[in-house]
Amino acid sequence: MSSQDPAPEEISSNTLRWVWAAALAASLAFWLFAKPYAPWAFKYPRAWQLPLKREISDFMKWLVEDASFGLFSFTELTRGIAWLLDIPFTIATSILSSGFLKGQGSDAVQILPPLTWIAVIAIVVALGRYAGGWKLAALVGACFSYLAIFGQWESAMITLSSIIIAVPFGVFGGLVLGIAAHRWSLFETLIKPVLDLMQTVPVFAYLVPILFMFGFGPVSAMVATIVYAMPPMVRITMLALRQVPGEVIDLGKMTGCSPRQMTWKVMVPSARDGLMIGVNQVIMLSLNMVIIASMIGAGGLGYDVLASLRRLDIGAGVEAGVAIVVLAIALDRLSQAFANRRPEHYEALAGTSFFKRNPYTSTCLAIVLVTGFAGLAMGWVQTWPESWSITTGTFWSEVVSYINVNYFDQLEAVKTFVLLNLMIPFKRFLISLPWPVVAGLLGLAGYSLGGWRLAVLCAVLTTFMAVVGLWSKAMVTVYLCGISVIIACAIGIPIGIAAAGRDRLWRVVQVLIDTLQTLPSFVYLMPVVMLFRVGDFAAMIAVIAYAIAPAIRYTAHGLRQVDPQLVEAGIVAGCTRWQLLRKIQLKLAIPEIMLGINQTIMLALSMLVITALVGTRELGQEVYIALTKADTGRGIVAGLCVAFIAIIADRLITAGANRMKARLGLQN
């Protein structure tokens, strides 16, 4: 941004400092003394509010009930799409979980059983062996065996079938949009803000409209999953295509490629490695959605987690939650292995039989058929018998209960201290701030970091929250996220620093943060409530647990990327270890660390919807209420406010990081 707006460079940093001092002093004075004269600044008058909620709801109603394209109505179009999506989904569930059925409902008769558990495990092991060798095969085999042994098989297969349909749609859709954005810069400018919104508006906010448009059931859940999981794919496609070396493009031009050939035969294949990162992200995010999707009828593992926590069966919740993690790990490692795999050539095998050329396919086919037939005769081959399942049963509940009974007083003391001395004062302070002052200061921050455009963006988005009448809820949101992010960084960055230099520790930490990110937050939310009671503190703990991962990851990453020659130079110059860290490594890693903080904020905001379930009263709660009341407008407006907070934080931090990079002479 700063390259487009030379303004901040023109004004000397000295002048800017004076402007800041004056602005802060004016704000302080306004905050302290203006309340009697300008009450509208402290409490946004109801009469000035925009009835945006109602308008969106009305629009939605019109869209669903009346909108028409002449030949067919809007609802018919969306229902048509739902019907189309349902076909591959039904085939996938048929293969993996229900078997091929004839008839509907309870009249349905199974004509062909689903794949046996033995066959599914054999197939994933074969895929693992094919893509990454025996080590990977053993890992994915173990993952899927967990699903069988812990009695999660049936639900896991339902979840898996919706994932393997949603992921290709997400990947392909993302790829196409990304390519389009790469080709036409106008499209890129249009799609960028849409992507921001897709990533930051809480999922709950668009669940209701999706339900209206696509009807009830797994298809709606799948659509929501695709919407949620696609944006990173679009972004990564744009980035990867931009990074295709000029020589490759020149070669394409020289050989006379048509634009289509250029895209599909030259650009996409050479950007493959980058694109696979996108695939990986789509898989991870799709699994993240499992719980929320189960709220609108997806069933599967997400439903098991929800249902067991509803009856406070923590053990069952943990087991189902771990099943999701395990599925995520297996799919992630497989997709990474496929990305790194180099094509092999089999000229030597040409002309030999089909079985020789396709050893994996034929082995799998054999196992599928053999176990399939055996399954007809012996039940245990078809479905894992329940009596073989093991469970950690009440172990987890007992752990929580033990801590609860024996350490409650200590926990309570810590909680009370933090609450009374840190959280409540901070909350009161934020709520008391007048909105024009906040908008003004954020605008000024935008100006000094990125220029006029950023200033206007920050000020306008901040004002929006006041205009739609959600100012105080937005401030509570900022308070809860802010405090969680601060604590997450205070814990996460030192861990990142410690882990960066030690390979073994780093590996352990990596597994831990992967688990924290894919384990559905519901699983640890209920024990947290048991130990800390309903309220902001429990919510804060949950947010920290979820959002700490990027703080650790990016810090470690940044430190590991520091040019070893510079470190060497530091050692030669006689730096102590502390100086080395502080003056060289941390300084150079700061842009990366800032990105980590940025991501921490994004994750914290995305957790809000979940913390609403333990009774916080912020924008997340507003979205949740809208969901349960099926109030489209209310949900979308509150969702937009969350998105705007995210966008402001993101833009300011990115601009700050860019300036710092420029100052340090680092270019990416």
Partner: protein
């Protein structure tokens, strides 16, 4: 690499199609339509039991049944369009507004009471009686508010209310009755009962929203607070009751749990509609089934099958 899978799918699909064509429609044509009737399932056990009992009974009558997972309130959108057909539990206490809104459109019809009465009220575990003599009377409760306090609320007592979406007018009630309590809202009922479980383990003070039929009042010993008895005027007329200037100066209404359906149900499956209308179970029966599932770890389907076996005479009357 995915070749085999595609091929397999194609083969399997082809086999399925052939079988479909060859098989033809099934027999048993005494019911009006063999299209599946969609019953909604939510995420609490009692509702699963109610719905499955209804579903199994309709199956015995020859109807084709499909269970669909749907959100409690959001399901009304589906019931209006006919995507969904029957919802077995709409609580007077939590679902009334949404139900009235839906029936007003004429696309959803109320099929009467299930026979269960929803109870929702402030509840305390039995061991609190020692610390606060005079319970369950609300005035006695108010006198020992401090016994229910936590550091954040002291000296006021802490009352853990249900999720904001449940309504219930607890903030107004505290105000109207001049009670020294602070209302804290749990976000979900899982959070609500997590806190009860935690307090119960430590025999710690707790006062919260408990409802029945549910497993909690079966598992934990305790009582509901007795407020001035609810009357319709109490919620509409400030002059009524204890506080002459405020509404909500009474306990919560106890009301029936309703059954609702898509308006087309009767036209398409007349017999099924009649059966749903006749469905009737009571609180004790349901409480026993819910605790069999949630506390004894039995499967919903087994509990339902058990009920079907034992009550043949009752459900036979519903479908004839």
């Amino acid at each position: 690499m995915n070749n085999w899978r595609n091929k397999l799918a194609a083969i399997a699909g082809a086999v399925a199609m052939t079988a479909l064509v060859a098989g033809g429609p099934a027999a048993l044509a005494e019911v009006e339509s063999k299209d599946p009737i969609k019953l909604t399932l939510h995420d609490w056990t009692g509702q699963l039991v109610t719905t499955k009992i209804m579903g199994e009974v309709l199956k015995k009558a020859g109807y084709n049944i499909e269970y669909v997972q749907a959100d409690y309130i959001a399901q009304f959108a589906g019931l209006k369009t006919g995507d969904l057909h029957v919802a077995m539990e709409i609580w007077e206490t939590t679902g009334r507004d949404a139900m009235d809104e839906a029936t007003k459109t004429g696309k959803v019809v109320n099929l009467g009471e299930t026979g269960m009465q929803a109870i929702e009220e402030w509840w305390y575990p039995e061991y609190m009686k020692e610390k606060c003599p005079g319970l369950p009377d609300w005035k006695a409760l108010n006198k020992c508010a401090e016994a229910f306090s936590t550091p954040e609320t002291a000296p006021k007592g802490r009352y853990l209310g249900g999720p904001v979406t449940w309504g219930g007018y607890d903030d107004e009630r505290v105000e109207a009755l001049g009670m020294d309590f602070e209302v804290v809202h749990a976000g979900t009922d899982a959070a609500l009962f997590a806190e009860l479980e935690s307090a119960y383990q430590r025999k710690a003070p707790v006062l919260l929203w408990v409802y029945a039929p549910h497993w909690a009042p079966v598992k934990f010993k305790g009582e509901w607070v007795e407020f001035p008895k609810y009357a319709a005027e109490c919620y509409s007329d400030p002059a009524w009751g204890e506080n002459k200037d405020a509404k909500y100066d009474c306990g919560k209404p106890r009301g029936p749990i309703w059954k609702v359906a898509w308006e087309g149900l009767g036209k398409k499956w007349g017999g099924a509609k009649a059966a749903v209308e006749k469905f009737h179970v009571d609180n004790d029966e349901m409480g026993a089934m819910v605790s069999a599932v949630d506390l004894d770890g039995k499967k919903v389907d087994d509990v339902v099958a058990d009920w079907i076996n034992k009550n043949e005479e009752r459900w036979k009357k519903w479908i004839n």
